[in-house]
């Protein structure tokens, strides 16, 4: 069964770079320098005094920090080696829920120029007209995609946008004198954990709806949860299973009737761009991740942007400032008296917003519509082919309708048959040069999950390669399970051991902690540093 996929594609004989690279703290020679700064000139010393005399005596540092002492090229080489020991999406990464995209290098080169990189956020508005224009124009684009009335970019990621929704929700209910009473947030088990977590961190009680046979919570369950205590509903749609809740309009109506707000976590926007809008479904607010859907790079976890938008009714409560256009000039408006304050200093990861604006311009309305078409087409193409591979099972097999831009899959049958589970398969797939996939957020609602998302960037040949790899690994799991269980084999290191990671006596979050806990096992501390052993 599985042979068909892997036979038609030639798998690469891949091996990642393995530099056996020491930890930087082991490198260097005393006295070497990577950066040298000028000495204060004579005139400065004459007027200001010697540096020693300027440092409060009781605070002066007498022992220098034990940092590496390296030349500039040695530092460069060390970190180049580390970059090469990072698979890092240089081949194919179908990391579902995160919507892997091409991150245009033209946007990188533009954003690195001084007119972005060397701008201070407190400069006068008239010296930031270009940046403010892009923030405003991009806001208008997101309004068109969502139907909302105002966006802000202060949130430093998707979770921070969910938190932004929490603070806006608090300010809104406070303005009505109902905050103490409205203390519950309703979400679903398939909404990203950050929805529940930020709501709790903002002081709300969290009610989590479980999935039912249609793949989403029932409207009856929602009704049972909604009350006069409901502050808001935080929900995504479609969810990570690729399933769309068709009752969402009714859900919004039910929550609104009880006086609650409705927040649309658009984490899974790629398959519905240009197809639906949060506003027409009745939502009060929504969030887009610019580092996912809008082509800004992910940076291995930020800098990111959660663009948060809301209706005019909620806009007075947004974090300050917002960009306002007056005639042909733009300014930052800090004047909102009911603002929820700030969730982060200044007004956002501006370079990332510029890159997302560039993506919006390059795609255009036609390209965005086509991209969502392609995302859904490619996912269904994968669904069809993955279903032929041994040991794989689609989540909610009884739901026959086509999924949207991603599908949650399970390796439950493979685990039962062979003992090989999803972690092992991800590790083994990396041996063939594809980045480890996303499994699932907690809790796992299907056994041994994985969640590929094709998106619009990867070609059909890329998807075929990826599926040939998983088909090959399936063959291996059934023929030689130990090979997969002990994977990876073609990566810079073998599987890490977990026993240090939750043991206060053994974990070491810094090199100094490592030396203290593990450095005295044999000989001198420096020599006990483990290194990559050659085989």
């Amino acid at each position: 069964m599985g042979k068909k996929s892997s036979d038609s594609v030639k798998l690469r004989n891949f091996h990642s770079a393995s530099w056996d690279e020491p930890v930087v703290m082991q490198l260097g020679v005393p006295g070497r320098r990577g950066q040298v700064f000028a000495k204060p000139d004579a005139e400065v010393v004459k007027k200001a005094g010697k540096p020693d005399s300027l440092i409060p005596r009781e605070l002066a540092r007498t022992t220098l920090p034990k940092l590496p002492e390296m030349t500039e090229p040695e530092v460069q080489r060390h970190y180049l080696h580390l970059s090469q020991e990072t698979q890092g999406m240089v081949n194919i990464s179908l990391f579902g829920t995160c919507t892997m995209k091409y991150n245009a290098r033209v946007s990188e080169t533009v954003a690195q120029r001084p007119f972005v990189a060397e701008v201070h956020p407190l400069q006068p508005d008239d010296t930031m007209q270009g940046i403010l224009e892009i923030l405003h124009e991009f806001d208008l684009g997101l309004r068109e995609l969502s139907g909302m009335d105002q966006f802000v970019f202060q949130a430093g990621g998707g979770a921070d946008a969910a938190y932004t929704n929490c603070v806006v929700t608090r300010a809104y209910h406070k303005s009505l004198g109902e905050l103490g009473r409205r203390n519950e947030v309703i979400t679903s088990i398939q909404a990203h954990p950050c929805n529940a977590a930020t709501a709790a961190a903002a002081g709300f009680k969290v009610i989590t709806l479980n999935l039912e046979e249609n793949g989403y919570p029932s409207t009856e369950a929602l009704k049972a949860a909604v009350s006069g205590r409901t502050a808001a509903l935080f929900i995504n749609n479609p969810d990570d299973m690729g399933i769309y809740n068709p009752n969402i309009k009714e859900w919004v109506r039910i929550v609104h009737e009880a006086g609650g707000l409705c927040f649309y976590d658009h984490a899974n926007f790629n398959g519905v761009m240009g197809k639906i809008r949060a506003r027409e479904l009745g939502f009060d607010a929504c969030m887009f991740m610019l580092h996912k859907t809008f082509g800004a790079p992910k940076g291995g976890g930020g800098p990111a942007v959660g663009a948060y938008g809301c209706t005019a009714a909620l806009a007075p409560f947004l974090p300050k400032p917002v960009v306002v256009k007056e005639k042909d000039k733009y300014r930052l408006d800090y004047g909102m008296k009911q603002s929820a304050g700030k969730v982060r200093e200044f007004f956002g990861n501006v370079p990332q917003v510029i890159k997302a604006y560039a993506w919006l311009c390059a795609m255009g309305g036609d390209g965005i519509d086509e991209a969502s078409d392609i995302s859904v087409l490619a996912n269904n193409y994968m669904d069809k082919k993955l279903s032929k591979i041994r040991g794989l099972a689609m989540s909610n097999p009884d739901i026959r309708k086509h999924r949207l831009e991603m599908t949650r899959w399970s390796l439950g049958p493979m685990k039962t048959d062979t003992g090989v589970g999803t972690v092992e398969v991800a590790n083994r797939m990396a041996d063939y040069g594809v980045d480890p996939y996303w499994m699932s957020h907690e809790p796992w609602v299907v056994p041994e999950p994985f969640t590929p998302e094709a998106g619009e960037m990867y070609s059909k040949e890329d998807l075929d390669y990826w599926m040939a790899v998983i088909a090959k690994v399936s063959e291996e799991a059934y023929a030689e399970p130990e090979l997969v269980k002990s994977a990876p084999h073609n990566q810079p290191i073998r599987q890490i051991k977990g026993d240090w990671l939750d043991d206060p006596e053994k974990w070491a979050m810094t090199w100094r902690a490592y030396l203290r806990k593990h450095g005295s096992k044999s000989g001198t501390a420096e020599k006990t540093a483990p290194s990559h052993a050659a085989e």
Binding site: M25, R33, Q35, F37, K39, P40, D41, V44, P51, L59, A60, L67, E69, M70, E72, V75, H81, L82, T86, V90, V116, P121, L122, P124, M128, G130, E133, G141, E144, G157, A162, G180, P193, C194, G203, G274, A340, G341, K342, E345, F346, C361, G365, D366, H402, L404, N427, A430, P436, P492, I493, I496, W500, D502, P504, W507, M509, T510, R512, S531
Partner: protein, 467 residues
């Protein structure tokens, strides 16, 4: 038909009609539209998006972006003295190269094996910052310094089961606004009330602190240097007072000071936070900010971190090391609303910038940089203090930022800054509205990027402006 005529987009591998058809054939449907069958018709957007057509030409896109952004003025063509939470420092070229590497720039996560290099770079961020701070635990950075303060206060509140934090009456309004949100409104059950302690000569007033710290205090938070740039010389006494009442001491510190001054841990700090942007990240119009959190290596602290802790660990091959997440079960990824606050994408690429920066500087670089900054800033303060009507309220004991009082010139800070603008100088941040007691004062920032000629130019500009 050529690819171009077919409208193939350069960023979409499957925009060729023939490829779409092949995939439709495999699925066994006639149109893409059929694949959207889950969405009720009445949910569908009726009209086409009102957005312009895509700019597929990279040359045209580049021109479009640069034509807009060229309307900005920046701190290379202007002489900049703004700081206050985002500071102009030298960014070494090697830092820019490393954070531009595709392997670090574009991926999302990987595994401990496939993304060993990035995980090691993260560990090296924590390890080097730990040396500067004299602390054994450093987590991956959070969104900003203000967010780091907020999380640290919430850690202290959970650890002590108390709901008050003490903060100086003079405090950055940007950071304070963030912290107020993290402390939650009074209507919420876990609300943490912020008690303001007086300052005297810019430092925490110990007498007032002793009145404010009680058995209800979860934490005392202070900064060194403070918002107005001053080293907190009473750090040890403040920490002792907090400890006497069973409260945690949380200290904010600029890591660039740590080549010349002792770290807060040496004065009794329990949790240390601060900005990461000074460590090799461009200002990026405020988009360069990030915040670190560090503590001693005690389980009661470690178990309260919201973010990721990267630990060195062994692998299946003897003598080989790798990196994994320590105490990971407590994060919101695993525990949803029962996790410690929340975590998610943050500023992890900048943690790599920070690691490269610290490796480049080394111990001597931090010392030299600290000495240069403190010399230049004091030179600037003295020079500006010579101008008729201009005074420096806090003449010593600061690092890179200091207050300049223009009250006696008869001009407002706004007027002076407007005059400086005409000379291509961005004057300091206007404090007159936020701290009326300081009159017409501004917060100036002088760093290693400023030469003594720059400072003479500023002085000449102010002399002209106050005439």
């Amino acid at each position: 038909m050529t690819a171009n005529e077919s409208g193939a987009h350069p960023w979409m591998g499957n925009s060729l009609a023939s490829v779409k058809q092949a995939m439709l054939d495999e699925i066994g449907v006639a149109t893409i539209e059929e694949l959207f069958e889950q969405i009720p018709k009445e949910h569908r957007l009726k009209a086409k998006l009102k957005l312009p057509p895509g700019i597929k030409s990279e040359a045209s896109l580049r021109r479009h972006l640069t034509s807009i952004l060229s309307k900005n003025e920046d701190c290379e063509e202007n002489l900049n003295f703004l700081g206050a939470g985002c500071w102009q420092h030298h960014v070494p070229a090697v830092v820019d190269e490393i954070v531009g590497r595709t392997e670090f720039l574009t991926p999302v996560w990987g595994s401990p094996q496939s993304d060993l290099g990035r995980n090691q770079a993260w560990f090296e961020y924590a390890s080097q910052l730990g040396e500067l701070l004299n602390m054994d635990v450093v987590s991956l950075p959070v969104y900003s310094w203000g967010c780091a303060i907020g999380h640290a206060i919430r850690m202290a509140s959970r650890m002590t089961d108390r709901h008050e934090v003490i903060i100086a009456d003079i405090f950055d309004p940007e950071r304070l606004s963030v912290v107020e949100n993290y402390c939650e409104p009074v209507d919420m059950p876990d609300h943490i009330s912020i008690v303001r302690v007086k300052t005297a000569n810019g430092l925490i007033d110990l007498a007032d602190l002793k009145k404010k710290v009680t058995a209800k205090t979860a934490a005392v938070y202070f900064e060194t240097p403070s918002y107005l740039g001053l080293f907190e010389t009473n750090a040890a006494a403040i920490a002792a007072t907090a400890r006497h009442f069973g409260a945690e001491t949380i200290v904010g510190v600029d890591p660039l000071t740590l080549g010349i001054v002792r770290p807060p841990a040496d004065f009794g700090a329990d949790i240390v936070v601060g900005p990461t942007q000074p460590l090799g990240v461009h200002m990026n119009c405020g988009g360069g900010v990030g915040g670190f959190i560090a503590s001693r290596d005690e389980a009661r602290y470690v178990r309260e971190y919201n973010g990721f802790l990267v630990s060195i660990t062994e692998t299946a091959r003897a003598g080989e090391f790798g990196f994994g997440l320590a105490s990971a079960h407590q994060t919101s990824y695993g525990m949803r609303e029962k996790g410690k606050d929340w975590t998610g994408n943050s500023v992890y690429l900048w943690a790599i910038a920070n690691a490269v920066y610290m490796s480049l500087l080394g111990p001597q670089g931090f010392k030299e940089l600290g000495e240069l900054i403190i010399s230049q800033s004091h030179f600037a303060a003295k020079r500006l203090g010579e101008i008729a009507g201009v005074s420096i309220p806090f003449k010593t004991g600061f690092f890179k930022e200091f207050v300049v009082d223009f009250t006696k010139t008869g001009k407002t800070v706004a007027e002076i800054n407007a005059a400086l603008r005409k000379q291509k100088i961005f004057g300091g941040k206007d404090l007159s509205a936020e701290i009326p007691a300081l009159g017409q004062s501004a917060l100036y920032c002088v760093t290693e990027v400023h030469t003594s000629e720059d400072i003479e130019r500023l002085a000449a500009g102010i002399e002209k402006a106050v005439m």
